[in-house]
Amino acid sequence: MRHIISVMVENKFGVLSRVSGLFSGRGYNIESISVGQTLDPTVSQMTIVTSGDDNIIEQITKQLNKLIDVIKVTDLTEFDHVEREMMLIKVQPRVEHRAETLRVAEIFRGVIVDSSAKTYTIQVTGDDKKLEAIIDLLRPLGIKEVVRTGKVAIAREAKS
């Protein structure tokens, strides 16, 4: 099963390679990993998307916790949470498809962040489904390049 694990780490050099080395060394797979500073500049937050059966996920979280630089590990899959990913898509449509391209971007609340005589670059944010959907619609129009950030996720606050 797919899991999304949030890892709070010391913001030091080498930490990313300790984490990624743990995954490669033990044969766990990483679907995506994203890292960024938190409000506290000495702490970074990693979001790792991985998959495996319960035993593997248990090992992954334990092994992450064991790393000296890891402060906290949360398997967000167990909680109600929000996941987002950003994607930049460079589209090179034929002249007759330029309007259609812009319409698709609009439907997905994409933003045109760059345009040239032949291309548009669209920025979209969303969950997996949304990103896959826009790719499906744009593909026949001529996608030149896709770049994705990998997921970030955060737990939802309990509503009361």
Partner: protein, 591 residues
């Protein structure tokens, strides 16, 4: 007063109580060695290879319980320690490895003797540091010792660029360490411990499996109290040898691939395993799916990742073994969990297994390696520190010597590093100058760090190396004999030097035993001379380690000694296209 980085380093090591550093100099550590030149409280022991230094620091740590320290130069000096670091890592041995590095401004330039040792050792250290500023040295040393020796211990490496050993700053050694991201769990969960106590009092066929954690946490006394009070039979992993007296009525000896018949049968038939400070290595479990099929498993370990990694666990208890055993003993006592009417039946059953297949061998006209190990045990009355190499020698040393106390068995378990034993024995002898220290060795393994004879001779360390010379990489040959139709591919060691002459050339003592009747005299002489000694025991070439659980089998599916091989069987040594005759060839050549 301002001190140089090199001075700060040595001052910091003093604060950590370091007496010996095992090391080797080079360009990037010149400043540190220069400080050591005048140093009185810390002695640098110059080994003859950095691998030797790392293993010696490890052996010192295993014998004494204190962190071993090792200091080498950058590049090749650092990479030479990697096997030693990985060995210590696999066996959870506290060690601090100091490596020189090229100056900060050259890092990343492929400078002369630059190696990214922090990158190289990341997966085989508990933690490692690259110190970029002189003002970080003291704190880093403090943290390194703290990390190396607490929780599940392990090696920590500190990489020191040359410029920071020269730079100066004020020295202030931190009083304590505060690491928000490192807080090992020490206290076991009380409810879980209660569950464990309940399960133990209900169990009909319980077995304790004691691992290296018992030794590391210093809980041999608590384990003995536990086992004796509840009459629980105890088997040990290889790393656990010495954690429970091997000559105790409740001891089943070692379990696993070359474990005793009775230990393996007891574990297989058990209804409750109490695993203490061990990690269910594949050498212990055999085929995992069939491991102890009827047993509930209680698993006590300080490292949560060890729990449920390889086998199912019913009652996990994360915590320091000593802490947990203390609470468990108390809980069992309070709840009267000790009286159990089934225990006698179970212990009797184990006695039957002991009678069915005791650990034995037959001593004929050629020296049997097991006989040598038994003689060492008899003569020392078990009061010795035994280091080992790897291979058959290691297994016989584990099987035929009864370790009575913790830290008397020093052997590379997890990594199985040939060449470990001799330098480790040297480290152990530094920790205990007055104890008898042996390295039980193979003719292959001893050649992997034989240069450390110089170190032993220079410091007049009475380390006694018992070479069980079978002319083969015996353990590999055993697998070839049993599973590869006797195709002895590259396992014959023709070309081995005369170990007596080698010892003598280094200024050590060389002794040889050709026949069984020589064995005792040679051992006694080695003990008497109080100098580094090589004992060359010309052993049966075809002897095998039994029982044996073949790869992929369950631990109750053991192979036993078949009828002896016909005398004079021919061994084809492909390497040099030579025919060796089993057993007697070397005796005739007078080697």
């Amino acid at each position: 007063m301002k001190l140089s980085g090199a001075q700060i380093l040595i001052e910091s090591l003093k604060r950590e109580g370091v007496k010996y550093i095992f090391g080797y100099p080079g360009g990037q550590v010149l400043n540190i060695f220069d400080v050591l030149y005048d140093e009185k409280d810390i002695q640098l022991i110059l080994t003859r290879h950095e691998q030797g230094a790392a293993h010696a620091a490890d052996g010192y740590a295993r014998a004494s319980g204190k962190a071993g320290v090792c200091l080498v130069t950058s590049g090749p000096g650092a990479t030479n320690t990697v096997t030693g670091i990985a060995t210590a890592y696999m066996d959870s041995i506290p060690m601090v490895v100091l490596t020189g590095q090229v100056p900060n401004m050259l890092i990343g330039n492929d400078a002369f003797q630059e190696a990214d040792i922090v990158g190289i050792t990341r997966p085989c250290t508990k933690y490692n540091f690259l110190v970029k500023d002189v003002s970080d040295i003291a704190r880093t040393i403090k943290e390194a010792f703290y990390i190396a020796t607490t929780g599940r211990p392990g090696p920590v490496l500190i990489d020191l660029p040359k410029d920071i050993t020269v730079a100066k700053t004020d020295f202030k050694y931190p009083e304590k360490v505060e690491l928000r991201s490192y807080r090992p769990t020490v206290k076991g969960h009380v409810w879980q411990i209660k569950q464990a106590a309940d399960a133990i009092s209900k169990s009909k066929k319980p077995v304790i499996i004691a691992g290296g954690g018992v030794i590391i946490s210093g809980s041999a006394a608590e384990l003995k109290e536990f086992a004796e009070a509840a009459k629980l039979p105890v088997t040990m992993t290889m790393m656990g040898l010495g954690g429970f007296p091997g000559d105790h009525k409740l001891s089943l000896g070692m379990l696993g691939m070359h474990g005793t018949y009775f230990a393996n049968m007891a574990v297989h038939e058990s209804d409750l395993l109490i695993a203490i400070g061990m990690r269910f290595d594949d050498r212990v479990t055999g085929r995992v799916e069939d491991f102890a099929p009827g047993a509930k498993i209680i698993h006590i370990d300080i490292d949560p990742t060890s729990i449920r990694k390889n086998v199912r666990v019913d009652i996990p208890i994360v915590g320091d073994v000593k802490d947990v055993l203390k609470v468990l003993n108390k809980t069992m006592q309070d709840e009267g969990g000790h009286a159990n009417p089934h225990r006698k039946v179970w212990l009797d059953r184990i006695e039957d297994w002991k009678a069915e297949h005791p650990m034995d061998y037959e001593q004929g006209d050629v020296i049997k390696p097991q006989f040598v190990v038994e003689k060492i045990y008899e003569i020392t009355k078990g009061d010795a520190i035994i280091a080992t190499e790897v291979g058959q020698n290691q297994m016989w040393a584990a099987q035929f010597f009864k370790y009575k106390k913790p830290r008397t068995w020093i052997s590379s378990g997890g990594l199985g590093t040939m060449g470990y034993g001799f330098p480790a024995a040297i480290g152990a002898q530094f920790a205990f100058p007055n104890k008898l220290v042996f390295d039980i060795a193979g003719d292959g393994s001893i050649q992997m760090n034989i240069q450390e004879l110089s170190t032993a001779v220079l410091h007049n360390l009475p380390v006694k190396v018992a070479i069980l010379n079978n002319c083969f990489l015996g353990m590999v040959r055993q697998w070839q004999e049993l599973f590869f139709q006797k195709r002895y591919s590259s396992t014959c060691l023709t070309g081995t030097p005369d170990f007596v002459k080698v010892a003598e050339a280094y200024g050590a003592v060389g002794l040889r035993a050709q026949k069984p009747s020589d064995v005792e005299g040679v051992i006694r002489e080695a003990i008497k001379v109080k100098r580094p000694t090589f004992m060359d025991f010309v052993c049966d070439q075809l002897e095998k380690v039994y029982p044996m659980v073949p790869a992929g089998a369950a631990i109750n599916e053991m192979l036993f000694r078949p009828p002896d091989c016909p005398p004079g069987e021919k061994l084809i040594c492909k390497t040099v296209k030579q025919e060796l005759k089993c057993r007697c060839v070397r005796a005739k050549r007078g080697m």
